[in-house]
Symmetry: C2
Subunit: 322 residues, 2 copies
């Protein structure tokens, strides 16, 4: 039998999983990253986790065909190099080569969002679709495009930065150094910031009762969903604006990529219809009907396991191209 | 020796050219399409033109390796089918198969703009770049993306409709049935319409002196360039707005595709710096610096021969993949 390991390498935790040829998840392990101990430590820990998982599932090392790693930051997947990962403090680290030397199997690395979307396309909500646009709504807004099982990279592996498209009329400062980027609105952080701004200018909201002003800093997008359900005008207005702006940005991506399926993942996707209804309305209004008619919109299916399954599926696709 | 034919199939004329392995144009023929005589006539004419060109250049038929056809409309390049071409009155016509039967060589067909951009990437202004975004500014605004010598298609071969991205604040009716599409402004037609609108509302322009009101219908984007050079305020304002809006739309495409080179072709590209200066300024302002720094902007080089060379180059890439 053939097996593949997938590693979701985050700034806080490493999650490692093992899948079979059909991408069924056979086992999973989680350990802290402890990036401060250096890249050598993190690489050793990843190797040890893969070995432990093989042992626990009773799979011999020689049946492991490859390992995929999803990593936040700028990755060169062709060379297997992490060019820059701020959370890990890594720069120009040949991760694939270094881990491959430890495990004696091929190792592949790519950006975590690309791995997630690859997973949804291979074994999740977008299984069966040829052209898949996936986005994750979390701290930021990230996107990736998969065409017939191939990730779209563009020059410098930088394609798909939907979150950093400048939206007319928006002016909030973005972490990237620009202003008015889509993710300053369409993300968990963006939702929270918009509510904080409106409430602090004196608008009446149930959130003022629920959270004293000093606690407003701890507001989450889940709180905003709760307020929305209680009929709170501020929450409704912010969700409406966020969904509309997301739909407008997606119209650009849909027109340029022509996807068959749009997959929405990430924590803030739990806002569900509160966000998706205005998003769909604006998207339908702003794209040529031919695009809208072929588009299937789904929430992500793989949730917590998306990074692990996607990374393993990507490794499999590199060793056994379809 | 190996040779390839490229056919630029328009509603008015058919242009057929022959290239060698290095994509040098060895000869060219032009004949009216006479589409009203039916698809059988047009196919026979294309076959006859290829044979005549071989004869004139003294190349035996068995050294012809393949033929590429660039055709306006909706094309399925995988199946070699023209799904819809309004100018020709064709629907679901298996052009590649039918012409291949006449010439006994492989025939390939694709959309004319994709063929043009493929040509600029293979043998024109974008030679040597891996990721090439090409646009043509003509009656409309069309675009195509080439990644490492492969055209990007998306679902239904519909990707890249930059001209039909809805621009906030724009409201002109578009030929596609929507309103506010980028090509209602950023195209030869768009430039002309904007000037006509402003002049008809009573603004003072040298174009009123140059062209009597009844002739304003015959205005061209070249006239607007001349008025711009004469310091005409209306022409300057329209070029500025058009360039700015084009830059804004390109910012969406650059962020999502991450091209290494942007090639600008089509008749209205002759406006040159009048249009490109505001375009560059807006594009630089609206994309993440990492995209701007890697982007090289060039005017198209192949001009009239782009369709023919591109179609031949595409046929070559299909028979001899690089």
């Amino acid at each position: 039998m053939k097996y593949w390991a997938g590693i979701d390498l985050g700034g806080t935790n490493i999650v490692c999983g093992l899948v079979d040829e059909d991408l069924n998840l056979l086992g999973k392990l989680k350990q802290p990253t402890e990036a401060a101990k250096g890249s050598g430590f993190v690489l050793e820990r990843m190797a040890a986790m893969v070995k432990q998982l093989l042992e626990e599932t009773g799979i011999p090392l020689n049946e492991l065909q490859g390992v995929g790693i999803g990593c936040p930051g700028f990755i060169n997947p062709e060379d297997g190099v992490c060019m820059f990962a701020g959370n890990l403090g890594w720069r120009d680290l040949p991760v694939a080569h270094l881990l491959s030397a430890k495990l004696q199997v091929p190792v592949f690395i790519d950006n975590d969002v690309r791995m997630y979307v690859f997973g949804e396309a291979a074994a999740g909500a977008a299984r069966g679709y040829k052209h898949v646009l996936g986005i994750t709504l979390g701290t930021g807004l990230a996107a990736a495009m998969v065409n017939t099982r191939h990730l779209y990279y563009g020059g410098g592996y930088m394609a798909g930065e939907l979150g950093h498209i400048h939206m007319e009329g928006e002016h909030r400062k973005c972490g990237c150094g620009m202003s008015g980027c889509l993710e300053t609105v369409a993300s968990a952080t963006g939702i929270v910031k918009q509510v904080q701004e409106v409430v602090r200018t004196g608008a009446t909201s149930v959130l003022q009762e629920w959270l004293k002003d000093e606690k407003l800093d701890a507001l989450t997008s889940a709180d905003v969903s709760k307020a929305y359900d209680a009929g709170d005008a501020v929450a409704v207005q912010v969700m409406q604006h966020t969904g509309t702006l997301l739909g407008r940005g997606l119209a650009y991506a849909v027109t340029l990529y022509s996807p068959d399926a749009l997959i929405i993942g990430g924590g803030a996707a739990l806002a569900g219809e509160r966000l998706f209804k205005p998003m769909r309305e604006e998207l339908k209004l702003k794209v040529y009907p031919g695009y809208w008619e072929r588009l299937h919109i789904h929430q992500g299916e793989l949730i917590d396991d998306g990074g692990v399954i996607g990374s393993a599926a990507f490794a499999k696709s590199q060793v056994q191209p379809i």
